[in-house]
Amino acid sequence: MATHALPLRQLPQNASARIVSVAATGELGRRIRDMGLVPGTIVKVIGRAPLKDPVALRLLDFTLTLRNSEADYITVEMLESAP
């Protein structure tokens, strides 16, 4: 099912992926996890801001936005896209 791991920043639009690891620590790490970005969660990139940053994600039935620099701490593995 799963393919290779990649940083969340590189996830193409509308592709779904499963979070493998979250490397952020401290305040950022806490914020990221509080919002449900923990290993195992499925996320999908649903949009990017007009200047390509921040990025908007869909996870756990809601929409979350974070900066590319923050997304860099998150590694995901792409899922075979469902038709």
């Binding site: 690891s21 449900g36 195992g40 801001a49 007009p50 390509k52 908007a56 039935d61 936005t65």
Partner: protein, 733 residues
């Protein structure tokens, strides 16, 4: 025996409909205050059920109970310190999984929790079903369904809360979930140690304390450190298990705990609590709106239009009641003037109290309209999109996407007002970015500075008025952003607060919520106007009035005014015959004498003397004492600069209001050159905000320190740039 009143704490994520539910439960029986030491609002109210009252405290919206944001700290400390009988946790049931994360943390604490599945209408519309009974059984807490905006389910909620409070009767039963073998083991050891020596157990449940040690919670560790020897022992256990986690799992306890919490939630939901009809996409409508509203070209364009419309609406519609109010206070001033004999008391009442407070109260309609619109943007979900679109730009300057609103309202589009602007910074949840925004927004071209700019530009750059005014607005933006950057690299240093933010689905805000929200803000402002602002207003009046002039010249002027006025009144009474020409001449003379006297009085007052004394410094910027005094007067309100300047040029009130006269005097003054004008414009743009803004800064930052900073730093910056501009200008000329 009458049972004691029950206290319930209302908790929940932002955008969970918590405030709407609070309004539905308490109606108008609310009280708004502040938690001591922080700018977080404390809202309380009373709900009634079966003749019994439940005291409800609305906790600030939070996603978690860590100690990073003031909101989270306030929420958990209220629960720890005041031990409410029950916590009512409002969940956006349409995003149940994430919303349960906060609930689980309350349960870890042990406080009795009632879960509220709010927004059930959205859940149903999305084709999701939640097995309420099963959830209740698995998570071991009462679960109530509501639709807060229609008040559906609120009686059932109150009944359940009352029931649970009675049943638990103040006993806390902390939830024990597994955090994995390593952490569970460490936790067990720590709990044993804590219980053995009663370490901090008067405040914290043992299990929760141990958990917070593992999470490395700053606040708890700080308290533990001062409390004695067990701290080191606990820390040692934490360090060991951290090391172990790092080596074997390359993670750390805090992350593990979060993972296991989410794991616990997922395991409950998977047991048939949450089922969804996959043909629906709940957020589909919202996503379609985002396709347009955050489109890479159209999005910013629409945003500009919306921001501009808000601005236009606020200041054009707000202008109507503003004019009424200022006319009313003018009328009040005149009435007092006519009803009382001339003298110091009358002068204080009219110039100090009525002009001062009246001037400030006239802002109330502006604030009201602006907050209504901002509340609409926030509650509808659009504000989050503004931040999303603007963040890339504002981040460069150490600010946040949400900084755009305060900047624009303050006068980013010329003609705003810094008072509602600074208040608008409340939408920023990032403390450092918020502070930098508050401190730089007052540089913008507010509606009171605008007439001063127009006067100066009209006199010294008569051919290029629109261009000059546009350049002034752009300069204000540039300086505000650069100063923000400078502040964020020095005094307000620190990494940018994580942006990680929810984009809530677009929703239509409820009228009731908007009105309550708007009224609270406006009322807070009015209360300020009645207290601090009144005091400062009187103080400023005194500084510009006392001491009264006593020189020979002043007395001579006063006596000739008396003689000539007597003559005039005799002429009116018919005792003395004067021809038309002679009367006019005499009237003009009296007016000129009044002007001259007022000038002397101003020059002689404390403010005047300071202005004169400052001439030795201000001449480097080309400012004479007249300009100095006006700038001091501008601290009361920037529009006062013009009227004070008029007095300083010994013009009477009527003459000043005909701007042409003042413009002529300025043009005739050989000391006033283009270089002076540029320096003066820069100075007015940047120097200390008016005192109403200063008071607002104090209110929004929670400390006088930043209010004082904005006065001192801004004035120093203004002086430096004004001198530089004047010197360059004078050299070029």
């Amino acid at each position: 025996m009458t049972s004691p009143k029950i206290t319930a704490a209302l908790a929940g994520n932002p955008n969970s409909g918590k405030t709407t539910l609070f309004n539905a439960l308490t109606g108008a029986r609310q009280h708004v205050g502040n938690y001591p030491g922080v700018t977080v609002e404390k809202k309380e109210g009373v709900a009634k059920i079966q003749d019994r009252e439940i005291h409800i405290v609305d906790l600030p919206g939070a996603y978690s109970l860590t100690s990073y944001t003031p909101e989270e700290l306030v929420a958990r400390n209220m629960v720890l310190d005041e031990r409410p009988d029950v916590v009512i946790d409002v969940l956006n049931a349409a995003a149940l999984e994430r919303n349960l994360y906060l609930a689980v943390q309350f349960m870890e604490l042990g406080v009795p929790v009632v879960l509220v599945l709010n927004m059930m209408d959205e859940v149903r519309a999305a084709g999701m079903t939640i097995d309420k009974a099963k959830l209740s059984r698995l998570i071991n807490a009462p679960v109530v369904e509501t639709v807060a905006k229609h008040g559906v389910g609120k009686e059932e909620l109150l009944r359940q809360a009352m029931e649970l409070a009675k049943q638990q009767d103040g006993t806390w039963k902390p939830l024990n979930i597994s955090y994995g073998p390593d952490l569970d083991h460490a936790l067990k050891d720590m709990v044993a140690l804590i219980q053995e020596s009663d370490f901090l157990t008067h405040r914290y449940p043992a299990q929760w304390l141990a958990l917070k040690y593992l999470e490395g919670d700053e606040e708890v560790l700080e308290i533990g450190r001062t409390e004695g020897t067990l701290h080191d022992k606990l820390q040692e256990i934490v360090d060991n298990v951290s090391d172990h986690c790092q080596k074997t799992l390359s993670t750390y306890p805090e992350a593990l705990i979060a993972d296991y919490r989410y794991g616990y939630i997922a395991s409950i939901l998977k047991q048939g609590v949450l089922t969804r009809d996959t043909t629906h996409d709940r957020i589909a409508r919202s996503d379609r709106m985002d396709k347009v509203l955050t489109h890479k070209m159209g999005g910013p364009l629409i945003m500009l239009l919306i921001l501009y419309a808000i601005y236009k609406f606020t200041f054009s519609v707000g202008d109507i009641p503003l004019v009424w109010l200022s006319e009313f206070f003018d009328f009040l001033g005149h009435s007092v003037e006519n009803a009382m004999p001339a003298g110091m008391l009358r002068s204080m009442l009219v110039s100090g109290v009525i002009d001062g407070v009246g001037g400030v109260l006239s802002f109330a309609p502006l604030i009201m309209i602006m907050f209504l619109l901002i509340a609409f943007l926030e509650d509808s979900g659009y504000m989050a999109r503004v931040a999303y679109m603007m963040d890339r730009v504002f981040r460069i300057f150490g600010l946040h996407g949400c900084s755009v609103m305060p900047m624009i309202v303050s006068g980013g589009i010329a003609g705003g007002c810094a008072v509602p602007g600074v208040m608008a910074a409340r939408t920023l949840r990032s403390p450092r970015e918020k502070l930098a925004t508050i401190l730089t927004a007052p540089f913008m071209t507010c509606g009171a500075k605008l007439p001063v700019y127009i006067l100066l530009v009209g006199v010294f750059f008569p051919k290029n008025e629109p261009t000059a005014l546009f350049a002034i607005t752009l300069t204000a933006w540039a300086i505000a952003l650069l100063v923000a950057k400078a502040l964020r690299s020095t005094l307000v240093r620190g990494p940018s607060t994580p942006f990680v933010m929810e984009l809530p689905p677009y929703r239509l805000p409820t009228a009731k919520g908007l009105i309550i929200h708007t009224w609270e803000r406006t009322w807070q402002f009015i209360k300020k106007a009645g207290t601090v602002i009144l005091a400062i207003s009187i103080l400023l009046w005194a500084a510009m009035t006392f001491p009264r002039p006593s020189s020979q010249e002043a007395r001579d002027i006063q006596s000739s005014i008396k003689v000539q006025e007597a003559l005039l009144s005799q002429a009116e009474g018919g005792q003395v015959r004067l021809n038309q020409e002679k009367t006019e001449q005499l009237k003009a003379q009296v007016e000129a004498l009044h002007g001259k006297f007022d000038q002397l009085a101003l020059q002689n007052s404390v403010a005047g003397r300071v202005g004169v004394a400052l001439e030795s410094i201000s001449r480097y910027a080309g400012f004479d004492w007249r300009l100095n005094i006006s700038l001091i007067g501008g601290f009361a309100a920037k529009e006062v600069i013009i009227s004070t300047l008029g007095t300083a040029y010994s013009l009477s009130e009527e003459q000043t209001s005909e701007e042409a006269t003042l413009a002529k005097r300025l043009r005739q003054n050989p000391n006033m050159t283009r270089a002076t004008a540029v320096a003066a414009i820069l100075f007015i743009m940047l120097y200390s905000p008016c005192f109403v803004t200063v008071v607002t800064i104090k209110q929004e930052t929670g400390t006088w320190r930043w209010a004082a900073f904005s006065m001192i730093f801004n004035t120093a910056l203004a002086a430096a740039l004004a001198v530089a501009a004047y010197q360059i200008g004078a050299t070029l000329a």
